[in-house]
């Protein structure tokens, strides 16, 4: 096998050094009764040439955003990825290394994480950030748990305007430990602030918010923060980092913990993963953060360097009292996001944001002007918006597909009340021509 260097000759020499005669002599502690007495019933080995045909052939059956212009978002976004981003992230010294336990041999990677933490702080307006979480959903769940630790309270307030998948993950995370969840209904596609004010109590650990929310709308975040803080609760905000080139950073509107999904920052859509969650918060909560953190330090000669730090929070030291069970994280996706941010810079990120806004609004206007179509909500939005459609979205998507488009999300899939509601995403990558053509197909 090409992945195994040692040959039968090597095996013989090694057994001799070990001092046993046969390989089987090394397995004497395994009870015979549990040994598998047959080859595994998996498909026979393929050579590289065959596997390329076989697996490549399988994957070629998927639709994808190179073949179809993609108007689907809802947590996975078809943004432009600069050529240098995957090129640099695939440098194998990064991709084939482990968590940088041994700092002196991992300065390169450690520095990139320190830079990532800094850029996340800059985007969110927070003091500290960790090295990454599994995805935006678990980041929000961990943010909620962290709020419970910080406030020593257990109730969580969770609006319906958060992505249903993310709410589902949070529910999963909280099911073992009894943390009551209070749902807040939406009103015109945003959190119903009156309902929120009613639900927040002195037992509330945190109010969670997604902004822009699942429907693409901008939430009244300052007001929500005031409501939370008035009762001593924290505001845990899930934000689209790509929007933060133009939108107010959560740190300035009162978020205590800012989390989010970093896929939009240069990571491929890749059928849903690997993505990358991030988490940032205030200095005071630093020792409550889950996951890896890199810190700057000095070497024995006083020269600056980097290492993993605040490890006393983590499972390998604190075990059942750790701030989280996370160990392996999404480092390579965080690196990808870093490269993306470094490449775009503040001006590039702003321009991406502005074009998302411009194109999404152009598309919304064009579609809403078609007979039978209208915008479902009146709130301001970033790159996604909901359309009330005259025909079931599934039908529209089928029509669009034949003209080369992947259409929006049928919200009826999530909630009956949202039948004939269609969540459309328009990134900076879409062109006016594409948008016009979509409008044509919808209208025709």
């Amino acid at each position: 096998m090409e992945y195994i260097p040692n040959t039968p000759d090597d095996h013989r020499a090694m057994l001799a050094t070990i001092g046993v005669e046969r390989f089987e002599d090394l397995l004497t502690e395994i009870p015979a009764s549990v040994r598998l007495g047959r080859p595994l019933a998996v498909a026979p080995a393929l050579t590289e040439l065959e596997v390329r045909r076989e697996v490549g052939g399988l994957l070629a059956r998927n639709a994808h955003a190179e073949r179809y212009a993609c108007f689907l978002g809802a947590g996975a976004y078809d943004h432009a990825i600069p050529s240098i981003v995957p090129f640099l992230a695939s440098r194998s010294e990064f991709s084939t290394s482990y968590t940088p336990y041994q700092a002196e041999m991992s300065q390169g990677l450690l520095q990139t994480i320190y830079e990532f933490q800094t850029m996340i702080c800059e985007l969110t307006g927070m003091d500290v950030a960790n090295a990454s979480m599994y995805d935006g959903a678990s980041a929000l769940a961990e943010g909620a748990l962290m709020a419970c630790r910080v406030t020593k309270r257990s109730h969580l307030v969770v609006p319906d305007t958060i992505h249903p998948h993310v709410r589902a993950v949070m529910t999963t995370y909280l099911q073992g430990i009894s943390h009551p969840i209070h749902r807040i209904p939406s009103r015109d596609g945003r959190v119903d602030l009156e309902a929120l004010a009613r639900e927040v109590t002195d037992e509330t650990a945190a109010v969670l918010m997604q902004h822009p929310n699942f429907f693409g709308n901008l939430e009244e975040v300052e007001e929500a923060a005031r409501i939370a803080h008035a009762r001593g609760a924290l505001l845990v905000a899930s934000v689209d980092p790509l929007s933060l080139g133009i939108l107010t950073p959560p740190g300035t509107w009162g978020a205590d913990v800012a989390v989010g999904e970093g896929q939009a920052l240069g990571n491929a859509m890749s059928f849903g993963g690997p993505y990358v969650g991030f988490m940032a918060t205030k200095k005071d909560f630093m020792r409550q953060i889950p996951g890896r953190i890199v810190g700057a330090t000095v070497d024995t000669k006083g020269r600056p360097g980097y290492c993993l730090t605040l490890q006393a929070r983590e499972q390998h030291i604190r075990r059942e009292r750790a701030t989280s069970n996370i160990c392996t994280n999404q480092a390579l996706m965080a690196l990808t996001a870093s490269i993306y941010l470094a490449t775009l810079g503040p001006a590039g990120l702003r321009e991406v944001g502005e074009q998302c806004v411009a194109k999404a609004h152009y598309a919304a206007d064009r579609i809403a002007a078609l007979p039978g179509y209208s915008r479902a909500f009146s709130a301001p939005f970033f790159k996604e918006f909901v359309v009330r459609t005259p025909r079931p979205p599934a039908e529209l998507n089928a029509r669009l597909l034949t003209t080369g488009f992947i259409g929006g999300l049928d919200l009826g899939r999530f909630e009956k009340a949202l039948a004939n509601h269609w969540l459309v995403c328009v990134t900076e990558k879409r062109t006016r021509e594409e948008i016009d053509r979509v409008a044509e197909v919808l209208g025709g």
Partner: protein
């Protein structure tokens, strides 16, 4: 010349990427109301394309990976990451597919996941597998939640989870996250679970025993059949931390040993690259009685159609925004297909042989924690060297000077001055020899010039870094000097 920080290289007005000019009308000025617009831009670095390329290229050259050399980090299975895996994960049908596109448009992805599940089921001797957990620890969490659901359905979720003292830190952390108390089972003189103690500790408030087999000492829990019986006799379930599955492929299956739940670390056993800390994938396999509790959605097959089943009333729910780390699943599936039954078996045989070879070569110079045939890794203790004032941590740093990444140090916790060495099947005899020669040379240095080892590393751009200072005065982000 170490590379400056991105921010130190930044210069106003530079930009590494630009978009085409906007081709739609300018939106209404209040499209984004003023209150939502940030007043000052984020202080991201400003660099041209070439400056970004050089920054990350140089930083990569200040880093070490499996592609550079041997990476004997115990418990981490730092095997070779085949490049065909990467190629497959990057084809447009994988990299550019949207997770919410219609099922009819995603048949390739769904079939791949379905088939990977079949393969993992067979490898582990389990009845169903969910691919959703993003890493081992999330797999553990999902497994314990399923155990919780299983017991709850039987009237009592139970209170405690038993975990050996040699277990990885994620085990207790995951159990706690799922709401259980953690009770420790001690290792016996052989480095294995103390079965007597287990029998005493277990009762009908025990939800499960979480066991790693081979355990983190690289030893096979030879009384596994007895252990399984004790656990099951009390109505508890047996959870296997599958991080060490690289020792067992085609040899022993968790399901056949009596485990009810097992998680895989595809980023260990199935060759997906560790990425500097992630991403991984931690699929979770279960026996039939636990199948109703698997995370939502599952992937099902209906004739030649593949579909996502969201309608699972007993499920513990969703663990991931979508279906888990799909790109990692593509890599693992590619690897599985490349190996086939003989290849899988050869992996473990070679991993075990390599570990025993290192054990044989180093056993004279370093104390072996529990000296008998090991599985895929071997734990040494630097106790002897400690008498000369040299710690395992020092030996690790000195190995860097010899060009090797150090082993796992100070884990498992049950071994004083532990050095945990895992030489995966992808390492050649020659590499192991060079490594062992270095370790033996260091053992001599510990005798003859301990200060050389204590002061290591000597050959890196940075000498030993002050981790205590880092934790005491945390500096976790760059701030523009005033």
């Amino acid at each position: 010349m170490p590379e400056p920080l991105l921010f130190e290289k930044s210069s106003p007005g530079r930009q590494g990427y630009r978009l085409p000019a906007r081709d739609v009308p300018e939106p209404a000025p209040d499209a984004i109301p003023r209150a939502f617009r940030r007043a000052t831009p984020p202080a991201l670095p400003e660099l041209s394309e070439v400056e970004v390329v050089r920054h990350y290229t140089r930083l990569s050259r200040e880093n070490y990976g499996v592609d550079v050399g041997f990476y004997p980090l115990g418990s981490c299975t730092m095997k070779y990451n085949p490049k065909i895996n990467e190629e497959m994960a990057r084809v447009p049908g994988a990299a550019l597919a949207h997770p919410l596109q219609d099922e009819a448009l995603s048949q390739g992805a769904l079939q791949l996941m379905y088939e990977l599940e079949q393969g993992l089921k067979e490898v582990a001797g389990m009845d169903r597998v969910s691919l959703q957990p993003a890493a081992g620890a999330q797999g553990e969490f999902a497994g314990i939640l399923m155990i919780h659901a299983y017991h709850t359905a039987r009237g009592n979720p139970r209170r405690r989870v038993l975990i050996p003292d040699s277990a990885h830190g994620t085990n207790p952390a995951s159990a706690a996250l799922a709401g259980y108390e953690v009770q420790t089972v001690h290792s016996n003189a052989e480095g294995l679970v103390d079965v007597g103690e287990l029998a005493k500790l277990i009762d009908d408030q025990c939800a499960a025993l979480m066991l790693t087999n081979p355990n983190t000492l690289g030893l096979f829990e030879k009384e596994i059949v007895e252990i399984a019986k004790i656990v099951h006799d009390h109505g508890a379930l047996l959870y296997m931390d599958g991080a060490n599955l690289n020792a067992l492929l085609g040899l022993v299956r968790p399901g056949d040993m009596g485990f009810d739940v097992v998680h895989f670390n595809l980023h260990k056993t199935f060759s997906t690259p560790h990425g500097g800390g992630g991403p991984g994938a931690g699929p979770i396999g279960v026996k039939a009685p636990l199948a109703p509790y698997l995370p939502t959605p599952t992937i099902e097959r209906d004739g030649s159609r593949y579909l996502l089943d969201h309608d699972r009333p007993h499920s513990i729910g969703r663990l991931h925004s979508f279906y888990g780390n799909f790109g990692i699943l593509v890599r693992a599936y590619t690897y599985l297909r490349r190996l086939g039954p003989e290849g899988l078996a050869a992996i473990s045989r070679n991993a075990i042989l390599n570990a025993n070879y290192v054990r044989a070569r180093l056993g004279g110079a370093y104390q072996i924690a529990y000296n008998r045939a090991c599985m895929h890794e071997c734990v040494f203790s630097a106790k002897r060297q400690k008498t000369r004032g040299v710690h395992a941590w020092d030996i690790a740093k000195r190995l860097i000077d010899y060009g090797f990444y150090p082993p796992t140090i100070n884990f498992p916790l049950v071994v004083e001055e532990a050095m945990m060495i895992e030489p995966p099947e992808s390492e050649s005899r020659e590499t192991l020899d060079t490594f062992c020669d270095a370790m033996l040379a260091i053992a001599r240095e510990c005798e003859e010039q301990p200060e050389l080892v204590q002061g290591a590393p000597h050959t890196t751009a940075r000498s030993r870094l002050d981790e205590v200072l880092a934790a005491r005065k945390p500096n976790v982000r760059w701030v523009k000097p005033a």
